[in-house]
Each structure stands twice: as structure tokens, then as C-alpha cells.
């Protein structure tokens, strides 16, 4: 009796000792106070569209100059410079160098954009009766530019263009949020299968949909792919319900071709 009791006590004491020495939380250490980190609040769009930002800044500056030349009174003071200072300096400076090099390689492209945007700014200054004419002009011009680009694209240019494309995360989120509301997910779909419907959109400048197309439409009409058809149709309904999309006021070139991948897996798994 006593023997077993003492044995038991011994073993228990042993276990206590082991836990005391091995488990870290029992040993109290003074809490390390983390060093204070200063945080600057910045616009996420500056970070997410980095390849575009330096170019844009140049463009905006040029526009600004032009504006100052035309009418100094009406032009509102731009905060562009301030943004520059607030932004985190390190990555900006690094990336500044790269686009400059590319600028030299294909200066034409930048010029096009300058012309386009300056036209825009001027529009506000002219009398409203001429707006219609201006819009027409701008259409012609953009068409010209598009043609030029499509003719002159080389492999190098193409890769730089692809860097310039792409929306910022906030812009993307804004589009997502719109579609989320419009999309009624068909709840009967199997959640184990790979069901992603890719819809290609062509958008007008006002965000209205010029055309919508399902990329894998062959699969839609294949026998045994009933689920896919249901999902594809729901995706098309969502796109049409959301028409016109609220898109950023500028940069039509960036978002005129849009591909939406509708994937219900996450939602259906719950």
C-alpha cells in the first residue's frame, strides 16, 4: 500500500518537474516591449499600380504645365507632389529608374497618352457647345492610337504594356463588389468539381458592356455538363444585371478588356 503510494507520489512529482522545466509558459520572463514603429497611412493604389505610377506622375506633371500655360486661375492646385513625399520612399525610388529606361525605348507610347489626357483636361475649359465635337474627335484619336499600338507592338513593347495594364487592388475590389451583389449562385452545384466559368467582357468608356462571351462555351453544350451550363448562365445573368459597371473614370485602355472568373466553390463549401 505505502509502497505503491510513494511510487505514485514519486512519479507525479517527476511529471511535475518535467513539465515545470520544459514547458516555456511556466517560466516567467519579462515581456519584451516591441520597438515603436511609426506607420504612414498611404493610398493602396499607389502601391498596387507601381509600374504605372511613375509614368502617370510624369504625365500629370506635363498636363499641369500645360494647364498653367492655358489658364492658371481655373486649374485647381494638385496634390500630386505631396503624394510623392508621403509615399514610402524605398520601393518608389527603386522603381523610378526602371520605367525611365523603358521610356527611352518606346517614347511614342507615352506621348500618345499625354496627348489624350491633355485633350481631356482642355475639354473642361472650352464652352459646352463644342463638347460634342470634342468627344467625336477624342474618339477618332483613340481609335487612331489603338490602331497604331496594335500595328507597332513588338515583343518587348508588349511585355511593358502588360505591366502597365492591370487595375489597382481597390479598383478590382470595387468591380468585385458590384458583381458579388448581382450574382445569384446556383446552390445545387457540386462543390467537389472544378467549375470555373470564364467570361470575357468588352467594356465601353461609360462602363456599359459592349459584348460578353463565355470562353469555354463548348463545354456548355456538352452532354453531362448540365452543372456547367447552369453556372455559366448564372454568370451571364450577373454580368447583365450589373450592366453598366461603375468603372474608374480614367484609364479605359486598362479595363476595356476584362475577364471574370466565376468560381462558386468557396461559397458552396460553406
Amino acid at each position: 500500500m505505502y509502497r505503491s503510494l510513494s511510487l505514485s507520489i514519486l512519479f507525479h512529482a517527476g511529471i511535475f518537474a518535467i513539465t515545470f522545466f520544459t514547458l516555456p509558459f511556466i517560466v516567467k520572463k519579462p515581456i519584451d516591449v516591441p520597438p515603436i514603429i511609426s506607420i504612414d497611412l498611404i493610398q493602396i493604389s499607389e502601391k498596387t499600380a507601381l509600374p504605372f505610377a511613375p509614368k502617370a506622375r510624369e504625365i500629370i506633371e506635363k498636363i499641369k504645365e500645360e494647364k498653367e500655360r492655358v489658364v492658371t486661375k481655373q486649374a485647381p492646385p494638385k496634390i500630386v507632389k505631396k503624394e510623392k513625399q508621403d509615399a514610402v520612399p524605398m520601393p518608389d525610388q527603386i522603381k523610378k529608374k526602371k520605367p525611365k529606361e523603358t521610356d527611352k525605348q518606346n517614347p511614342e507610347e507615352v506621348k500618345d497618352e499625354i496627348r489624350q489626357s491633355s485633350e481631356f483636361e482642355k475639354k473642361e475649359l472650352f464652352d459646352p457647345n463644342k463638347i460634342a465635337a470634342l468627344i467625336d474627335k477624342s474618339k477618332e484619336e483613340t481609335a487612331d492610337i489603338q490602331q497604331k499600338q496594335s500595328l507597332e507592338i513588338t515583343q518587348d513593347q508588349d511585355s511593358t504594356v502588360s505591366l502597365d495594364k492591370g487595375l489597382t487592388i481597390t479598383q478590382e475590389d470595387a468591380i468585385k463588389a458590384q458583381i458579388f451583389k448581382c450574382w445569384n449562385i446556383p446552390l445545387g452545384l457540386p462543390y467537389d468539381e472544378d467549375l470555373t466559368v470564364r467570361v470575357r467582357l468588352k467594356l465601353n468608356k461609360d462602363g456599359s458592356i459592349m459584348s460578353s462571351e463565355i470562353l469555354d462555351h463548348v463545354r456548355m453544350n456538352r452532354p453531362g455538363q448540365g452543372f456547367y451550363k447552369v453556372l455559366a448562365e448564372s454568370a451571364l445573368r450577373a454580368v447583365r444585371l450589373c450592366n453598366p459597371l461603375k468603372m474608374p473614370a480614367t484609364g479605359h485602355d486598362k479595363w476595356k478588356d476584362l475577364q471574370l472568373n466565376f468560381d462558386a466553390k468557396e461559397m458552396l463549401r460553406g
Binding site: 458583381i179 445569384n184 445545387g188 445573368r237 462558386a264
Partner: protein, 445 residues
């Protein structure tokens, strides 16, 4: 060399696709789909006799469809009063702007006709209002008296077309209708349509009946009944009304269920305080013992492919859920949570097992995957049990008793249905108290 060239080309080619902004849409709206169901219009009213006219099919048929879709929780049917266009015109060519105006995304229209043979011809069309096109159209024939089934079949078609999943409206439910005081309860077998219509009693109530289950084709029912105080499993043909005892067991048999091919009945047989699982071939009457364990094994249910059986057993000391192969080998415990688990039922889809769980005096209905993972409790109450699957494996029907006084006065038992997402709990109307529901397969299959 060729390969390298091809890959190079592919790389260059694919780099071009970056030009398009791609956005992943991984979330959406889980709100019910706004749907409009227009009244149907009568094509040849001169052929409609007074009797058929009194059925008011042009209103009632869409009403039954509306009830079905609303109960599913996946559709919201807009109020008739908001519809702008006349039924006749909307069936020929809807003015989609009008329907878009009331925020409908889907519209259903229909036409009724009595043909030369006196049959009812129902034509319906399903319109995608947003895309402005017809997505389904069908004509069905039947005797005018079976118009409810037509409405259910149309509901199934709509459901399938818009959710991608088979419907469950053209089905029936068999249950135990209860009446009288708790101490002297009268229990009858009753059958009704899935929406509670066409309620019929199949037995007189002289004997106690429990746990009725449909055969896969919906023509037979197996259940347990106390005849001369001996509980035994019976087989009932719904069409002929013929009843018979299943097997000649020297003791009590209970918890019967059909195999997925409808050829066998699987049940528990109790002797000397021990119960094991047996199957019996309906045609040859050959009996096979599946489990032989000193514990109580009961509530067996086949997987839809017939290869596995799920059952509950107290061999671990507490009642838990086990699976095994259909020959009784490879027994595996799958329920791992706290509490007692019972009445497991394999989903017709094959992916889930529904069960009743008792924990800390509360009753839960839940589902888990077939390996026991992913346990989800859908609903909790004072007393509820016996879940049964809808044929598409999306909805569970079960019964729930409310707490009464000390002697059970004032308590009531009713049928409820719940979606496997845990949303959309609805009470199913029955003329009397009800328990032990079992859902049939699709009748039109």
C-alpha cells in the same frame, strides 16, 4: 529543337494574354432568386367542363408551383399583384422590360388546353428575364384530376434548370399519424404528397406502427408493427394494400429499410437482449446475418451504391455510428464527438450521413461525411429525431416533439424539413400529429 521552338512560341503567345485584366469572382449572392410565376392562360375555354373550371387550374396550378419553389428556400416568388403583363401575352413573348421592372430574374408562363381526348395539356415556358430568352419549355399531358402532379413535375424542371440539381417535388412522404392522449396513442400509417396535399391513411390504427420506409420505386413500404404484442417488420404494397410479415424470426424485428436496388430489406433482429443486423431477400426470403456482436447493433442504412452499410451500435459503451462493407466486414467507428449518436441515414447523393445526436439533454439533427469528418449540427431542440433524405440529398425531413406537461399533455409532434446548409427550416402541415417521416424517390422516374 522543334520542342524548344514550340515552347518558346507558347511562352511568347501566352504572355500576350496578360493584356486582359482578370478578376476572380469567388463570392456571390445567396439570396433566393427573384422569380415571377404568371397565371396560366386557357387556350380553349369552351372545352373546359364546369367540373374542370371549378378547379381553377389557371390560378391553382401556378400556386402549387409557387408553394414548392418558396418552400425550397432557393426562390423568392414575387407577388402576383405586381405583374404588369397579361398571362396570354407573357406566354407568347414576354415584355422583358416589364418583368425587369419588378426585379424578376426568372419568369414562368403557361398555357392550358383540353385536347380532343379530354386530356389536360399543360405547356409551360421558363424565361431568363435578364438575358431576355427562353431557357426551358415543355408540354405535359394528364387527366385533369392529376393536375397537382403536373405542377410538381413542372416545379422539378424549374428547380433543376436553375440550380443544376434534380428536384424533389414530385415525391410523397409516408409517416405515422398520431392522435389521442399520450398514454393511449393511436398510430396509423399515412401517406401524402411532399407539400402535404392528398393525405391518406393506410392502416386503421388497431395496431401500433413505427418507422415506415419507402422502397426505392415508391410502391412498397416496410415498417414495424405490434401485432398481438409481437413487434415485427412488415411489408405493404401501397397499390394493392396487401400486407405481409417479413421473414420468420423467433423474436422481435425492427428498424427496417430497403436496399438501394429494392431487393432486400435490412433490419435489426433482437434475441436475449442482444440485437444484430440481418438482411432478407424479398423474393427468395433468404436471410443473412451481417453483424454478430454482443452489443446492440441497430438502425442500418445502405449507401446508395449498396456497397456499404451505416448503423449504430453501443459496442464502445455508448451509442455511436459505425460503417462496414455490405458483407459485415471492415467495421469502422465514424462518430467521434461527445454525446450519443443514432438513426444514421446515408444520403442518396452518397456524400453525407444524417444522424440524430443527443448531448446534454438536447436533441440535434446533423450531417457528417461518410468518414465521420465535417460533422455539422443543423438544428437543436427539446426532442427531435429520425431524419430522412429528399431524393436529391439536399433536404432532410424529421419530426419534432414539443415539451408538454408532466403527463405529456399539451405536447405535440410535427414534421419539419431543413436544408443541409442549416437554413430554411419549415414545418410541414399534417392534419394530425405526425412522426417518423420517410421521403419517397421521384415518382416520375
Amino acid at each position: 529543337m522543334k520542342k524548344i521552338l514550340v515552347t518558346l512560341f507558347l511562352i511568347l503567345f501566352t504572355s500576350k494574354s496578360f493584356a486582359v485584366v482578370t478578376i476572380d469572382i469567388t463570392r456571390g449572392n445567396l439570396e433566393p432568386l427573384p422569380t415571377a410565376i404568371s397565371n396560366f392562360y386557357i387556350d380553349n375555354p369552351e372545352k373546359f367542363s364546369e367540373k374542370i373550371k371549378s378547379l381553377k387550374l389557371e390560378e391553382n396550378l401556378p400556386k402549387v408551383i409557387k408553394g414548392n419553389l418558396m418552400r425550397s428556400g432557393l426562390f423568392y416568388v414575387l407577388d402576383n399583384k405586381s405583374y404588369i403583363q397579361q398571362p396570354k401575352l407573357s406566354h407568347l413573348k414576354p415584355r422583358f422590360e416589364d418583368w425587369r421592372l419588378i426585379k424578376a430574374q426568372i419568369m414562368v408562363s403557361g398555357k392550358l388546353r383540353i385536347d380532343d381526348k379530354g386530356r389536360l395539356r399543360v405547356e409551360f415556358r421558363l424565361w431568363d428575364v435578364v438575358s431576355a430568352k427562353e431557357i426551358e419549355g415543355l408540354a405535359l399531358f394528364a387527366t385533369p384530376s392529376s393536375w397537382r402532379r403536373i405542377a410538381h413535375i413542372i416545379s422539378d424542371k424549374i428547380y433543376q434548370r436553375l440550380t443544376g440539381e434534380e428536384g424533389y417535388f414530385d415525391t410523397r412522404i409516408i409517416y405515422v399519424a398520431e392522435s389521442g392522449p399520450k398514454t393511449q396513442r393511436e398510430k396509423k400509417l399515412a401517406i401524402m404528397d411532399q407539400d402535404g396535399a392528398n393525405n391518406k391513411f393506410l392502416t386503421l390504427g388497431n395496431e401500433l406502427v413505427l418507422t415506415p420506409r419507402f422502397s426505392p420505386n415508391g410502391k412498397m413500404v416496410t415498417y414495424m408493427s405490434y401485432f398481438k404484442n409481437l413487434p415485427r417488420v412488415y411489408l405493404l404494397n401501397i397499390e394493392t394494400g396487401i400486407q405481409e410479415v417479413v421473414g420468420d424470426f423467433p423474436g422481435m424485428t425492427f428498424a427496417p429499410r430497403f436496399s438501394p436496388d429494392g431487393r432486400k430489406i435490412i433490419m435489426s433482429f433482437a434475441r436475449d437482449g442482444n440485437s444484430d443486423i440481418y438482411t432478407m431477400d424479398i423474393e427468395s426470403r433468404r436471410v443473412e446475418q451481417i453483424t454478430s456482436n454482443p452489443a446492440i447493433d441497430t438502425s442500418p442504412s445502405f449507401s446508395p451504391d449498396g456497397r456499404f452499410i451505416v448503423f449504430n451500435s453501443d459496442r464502445s459503451g455508448f451509442q455511436q455510428i459505425y460503417t462496414m462493407r455490405s458483407d459485415g466486414r471492415g467495421v469502422k467507428r465514424i462518430s467521434r464527438g461527445k454525446g450519443l449518436y443514432g438513426t444514421p441515414v446515408w444520403s442518396p447523393r452518397g456524400d453525407l450521413i444524417a444522424f440524430t445526436k443527443i448531448h446534454k439533454g438536447k436533441f440535434y439533427i446533423g450531417v457528417m461525411r461518410t468518414d465521420g469528418t465535417g460533422e455539422r449540427l443543423l438544428t437543436q431542440n427539446f426532442y427531435q429525431e429520425a431524419p430522412s433524405w429528399s431524393p436529391n440529398g439536399r433536404v432532410l425531413i424529421f419530426y419534432r416533439e414539443t415539451a408538454g406537461g408532466k403527463k405529456g399533455q399539451g405536447s405535440s409532434a410535427k414534421l419539419w424539413a431543413i436544408d443541409i446548409t442549416g437554413y430554411n427550416e419549415v414545418k410541414i402541415k399534417t392534419p394530425t400529429d405526425a412522426s417518423d417521416p420517410s421521403w419517397s424517390g421521384l415518382l416520375s422516374k
